[in-house]
């Protein structure tokens, strides 16, 4: 099959899957089988593309011109490939988990739920493979819109308010800041195609470049740079599989992915490093990392703590990208993948606890490790990865980041990484200690009867295993990351 066909298939499969899910709403078993088959098919196609990319072939589609200067085109480059691999792999696990979770909690409106999920995946693949800013922007907006119903899924006042914040911040930042930035790029650079070395490099005075960079960074609201992060905690009202989608599979990953992509292919790493107009970004990202960690420390709600942890971890990626050296770009790419598998494990664990025992607060979790050993073991692995302890995936990304920061003498970045690692340990280790070493508290005694439904346990074990495996066998992501950074 040609590369063009494969890309189109990767985009069409989840979209068609969404339609089929809608048509099979009459039978839950059929509907969920369709979801799984779609996810598996997408995974296969992505693997084929991966084979081509690693084999050094270029995989791209022709361009479809909408208006002069605006084209719909797809082109697989290493970073997008990595992102697509992560998203399509985790979708399978997430689907298995969703089935257990949605059934276990008797959630309403399951058909639209699975449909929106599939559409979100289609747009994620679109973001990953986009060949130009417009295509990326199009898929970015579709992702926002298709995940909004998922966030507001419960339909009560709380969920609606969360959904409102989610939609307004994400749509607002992308329309008010990102779109003008894209228009300006089109006017200044004369093209929107991603090109190695950056399309804006040397096209505009430093001041304009700095302004555009700010527009992009804050316009990409999905990257959750402070102060535009609060949609993420607000979206915590969503069911856990959705949180996993937001935090691990698609949404925030799409955000930092776009940031890295813009820095690498629109501005150009070298051009930015020469002009030195991205230094402020190190500070902003560093501030977000530290502040979000401190906020996370103070959260008692488990999902809220995880949400702030995400905010902080995302800014790692932005920080790594803003160090502007090839090795740190490798770190950024690795961290996208590593954070995805670890954070999804953590959310799965949180959802598992909720499904099995209805507990949501950390202070209620004394001794829960004895009742739910699988869940909490997986949680521990995920948490260690967040902190960056080997043998987990989180170590890799941090290693490359630190190396990059030290090589270029960016001591601010080094300090941020070290301090935040301590903070991460500060808010994750107590949970593990509490769960395994303390005797079961009254909440655990009253509610926790045992493990969650089988699909949930399978899913979280798989992702926890993945977290370790990625540390042991990092060849494929590393190869892609190196291709991206050109080292």
């Amino acid at each position: 099959m040609t590369g063009e066909m494969l890309i189109i298939l990767a985009l069409v499969i989840p979209a068609v899957g969404a339609g089929l899910i809608g048509l099979t709403s009459w039978n839950a078993n059929v509907r969920e089988s369709v979801t799984l088959v779609t996810a598996a098919a997408l995974f296969l196609v992505v693997m084929f593309i991966l084979g081509d990319v690693l084999g050094g072939q270029s995989v791209a589609t022709g361009a479809f011109e909408i208006v002069p200067g605006l084209e719909l085109a797809f082109n697989v480059e290493p970073l997008g490939m990595l992102f697509a691999c992560v998203a399509s792999t985790l979708w399978i696990v997430n689907s298995i988990y969703s089935i257990g979770y949605m059934r276990g909690n008797n959630e309403p409106r399951q058909t639209p739920f699975y449909m929106c999920f599939a559409v979100a995946l289609a747009s994620t693949i679109g973001i990953a493979f986009a060949a130009n800013l417009f295509t990326l922007f199009l898929c970015y907006e579709i992702l926002t819109l298709s995940t909004y119903p998922l966030v507001a899924h419960k339909g009560d006042d709380n969920a609606k308010a969360g959904g409102r914040v989610y939609l307004l911040i994400l749509l607002g930042t992308s329309m008010v800041l990102l779109l003008p930035a894209i228009i300006a790029t089109a006017v200044i650079a004369g093209t929107l195609d991603f090109q190695v070395g950056g399309i804006l490099a040397g096209k505009a005075p430093d001041g304009i470049i700095a302004l555009l960079l700010a527009l992009y960074i804050f316009g990409i609201g999905k990257a959750a740079i402070m102060p535009l992060h609060w949609w993420l905690p607000a979206a915590m009202v969503a069911p856990t599989p959705v949180s996993a989608l937001l935090h691990a599979v698609a949404v925030v990953k799409a955000g930092v992915f776009t940031v890295v992509k813009v820095i690498v292919y629109v501005f150009g790493v070298d051009a930015l490093a020469r002009a030195g107009n991205a230094e402020w970004l190190v500070w902003v990202a560093g501030f977000t990392v530290i502040t979000a960690s401190i906020v996370a420390l103070r959260q008692d709600n488990l999902k809220k703590r995880l949400a702030y942890s995400t905010v902080s971890q995302l800014s790692y990626v932005v920080l790594a990208a803003s160090i502007l050296t090839p090795i740190s770009i490798v770190g950024a790419a690795m961290h996208i993948a590593a954070h995805a598998v670890s954070k999804i494990t953590l959310f799965f664990a949180a959802g598992s606890i909720y499904t099995a025992s209805r507990l949501t607060e950390i202070s209620q979790l004394d001794g829960i490790g004895r009742r739910m050993p699988w869940t909490m073991a997986a949680f521990a692995i995920g948490a260690l990865s967040m902190i960056g302890v080997p043998p987990t995936a989180g170590f890799l990304g941090k290693w490359f980041m630190l190396t990059g920061a030290m090589n270029t003498g960016q001591w601010v970045a080094v300090a941020v990484i070290i301090v935040s690692t301590l903070l991460n340990a500060g808010y994750f280790l107590p949970i593990i200690v509490q769960a395994f070493l303390k005797p079961p508290g009254k909440d655990v005694k009253a509610h926790a009867k045992g493990e969650a439904p089988i699909p949930i346990v399978i899913a979280l074990t798989a992702t926890a295993g993945g977290t370790v495996l990625m540390f042991l066998f990092p060849d494929i992501p590393l190869a892609l990351a190196r291709l991206l950074a050109g080292v």
Partner: protein, 493 residues
């Protein structure tokens, strides 16, 4: 023979159709006649557009009197585009009209309704096609009088008030227009627009010409509901029968915008209007006021139709903004938004009409939970709503893209930001409906609702699909708009 007389047929057919409808007196038969005429109209328009694209401007001497003595029908790429737009909307809406009209209009009035509707269509097409300043006035009044009558047929008694208000304001507008034409006539001695443009070149800047420009601007602005001259519009749209609202929202204001374009660019010329007079500043300010003011008012409406009406006022702001920019990209954006807005507002009002058909109300609170009962209709509503917001992949984005480019081309960064911020406000009012429709428990009124009959559903879906289709394939919309903008800026006559 037929091909030669297409310009005349474009106007005469609906006029004759109206007479036939009035004589038939039977609702269904009249509908049949109106349907046939409405379906023939786009054929004429397509014929004209193809002819124009191939051979350039068509000049048709009505009654065989050569211009400038006789009335000239003059079709160039801009009004061919507009003719196609108006007649297509008219054709799409006729199948829809049957059920909607049966539900909302007393049976004995059906034939009259279709007769008046065809008169309105005739007037709008006439304004677009004629090249004679006074003839424009006549057609303007034909369409306006028909519109007043159509609005007054709404079920709510407040429709009468709305029609009366519109009559007063509309007549003032039309009279202002005639005053402007009067000044032009006394200065140039001609009523043919091309002829006037030629003769004005010698006497520009006289005070009478400036007065003419001022009167024409105000008169036409009343018709196109330029903020703050829009007060007639929300009531008129809210209380008119659903089919009338959909039709007017998609066509009437667009024709008025065309007229403004024609006078500004073809008759007076860019140099006079935009360089010597502060028209840019005034239009820019009023457009921005519309985009923000009307959008914010829309958020607080209780009635979905009124909400959309205010949204229309705001969207007209985008069109006039494009005119004010007066550069290639900006003007293209304005003209293409004329087309795009017709599609999206047509679809939105038709979806609401379908809701009204089923539950007899369009109060926002009564729409609660409708997403479960009428998923297809409401899905179409949401999609068209996304177009109003300007999400990429819909027509709204194409317009916004061009307007943004236009702002940058003039070096007005701030304006590009204002454009996108104003579209953010539409997220609020569209989002509000989405929330009510999909995430609230089903309201009392919506309990027994179901999808509307196919005759209403298919046209709605067709227009909705068009809002997405023309978001990707823009050769027919932005392509033609771009050429039109180019010609207008070059002083097309």
């Amino acid at each position: 023979m037929i091909a030669d007389n297409l310009p005349a047929l474009q106007v005469v057919l609906p006029l004759l159709g109206a007479v036939v409808c009035a004589m038939l007196r039977r609702g269904t038969l009249a509908w049949g006649v109106a349907l046939i005429v409405s379906l023939l109209m786009p054929l004429c328009a397509i014929g004209l557009l193809l002819e124009v694209l191939e051979n350039g401007t068509i000049s048709y001497a009505f009654g065989g009197w050569p211009p400038p003595i006789g009335i000239e029908y003059r079709v160039d790429i801009i009004n061919a585009f507009l003719l196609l737009l108006v007649s297509l909307i008219g054709a799409v809406i006729m199948p829809y009209a049957k059920s909607s009209v049966e539900a909302e209009i007393a049976p004995e009035n059906h034939a009259w309704f279709y007769a008046i509707y065809l008169l309105c269509l005739c007037g709008l097409l006439g304004i677009a096609i004629t090249g004679d300043a006074f003839n424009v006035f006549v057609f303007m009044e034909i369409s306006s009088l028909a519109t007043y009558a159509l609005i007054a047929m709404g079920r709510d008694r407040r429709a009468l008030l709305a029609a009366y208000q519109y009559l007063v304001v509309g007549t003032i507008g039309a009279t202002m227009y005639v005053i402007g034409v009067g000044f032009l006539y006394s200065m140039t001695g001609s009523l043919n627009l091309v002829d006037i443009a030629g003769r004005l070149a010698d006497i520009e800047n006289s005070r009478a010409v400036m007065a003419a420009l001022a009167f024409l601007t105000v008169g036409i602005s009343l018709k196109l509901a330029l903020f703050p001259l829009h007060v007639w519009l929300p009531n008129a749209y809210a209380y008119a029968p659903s089919m009338v609202t959909s039709f007017l929202a998609a066509t009437a204001t667009k024709v008025a915008v065309y007229l403004l374009l024609r006078y500004y660019f073809s008759v007076f010329g860019v140099a006079v209007v935009f360089e010597e007079l502060p028209v840019t500043e005034i239009l820019l300010f009023l457009s921005l006021a519309a985009m923000f003011g009307a959008s914010i008012i829309a958020i607080f409406q209780e009635d979905a139709k009124r909400m959309l009406a205010y949204s229309s006022v705001a969207q007209i702001g985008y069109i006039t903004l494009g005119i004010a920019l007066a550069n290639q990209s900006g003007l293209t954006g304005g003209i293409v938004h004329l087309f795009n807005h017709a599609l999206m507002k047509g679809a939105l009002f038709m979806a609401l009409g379908a809701v009204f058909y089923r539950i007899g109300t369009v109060k926002i609170d009564d729409l609660a939970g409708l997403g479960k009962k009428m998923p297809i209709t409401m899905g179409a509503f949401v999609l068209a709503g996304l177009s109003v917001i300007g999400v990429p992949g819909t027509v709204g984005f194409v317009s916004k893209w061009y307007l943004g480019l236009g702002a940058f081309e003039n070096g007005w960064w701030w304006l590009a930001f204002l454009i996108v911020i104003s579209s953010l406000i539409s997220v609020v009012y569209v989002g509000r409906i989405v929330e009510v429709v999909w995430f609230r428990p089903i309201s009392q009124a919506a309990r027994s609702a179901k999808e509307p009959p196919l005759g209403m559903l298919l046209p709605t879906l067709l227009l909705t699909a068009a809002t997405v289709y023309f978001g990707f394939d823009t050769t027919a919309s932005a392509g033609i708009a771009g050429r039109a903008a180019e010609l207008l800026l070059a002083g097309l006559r």
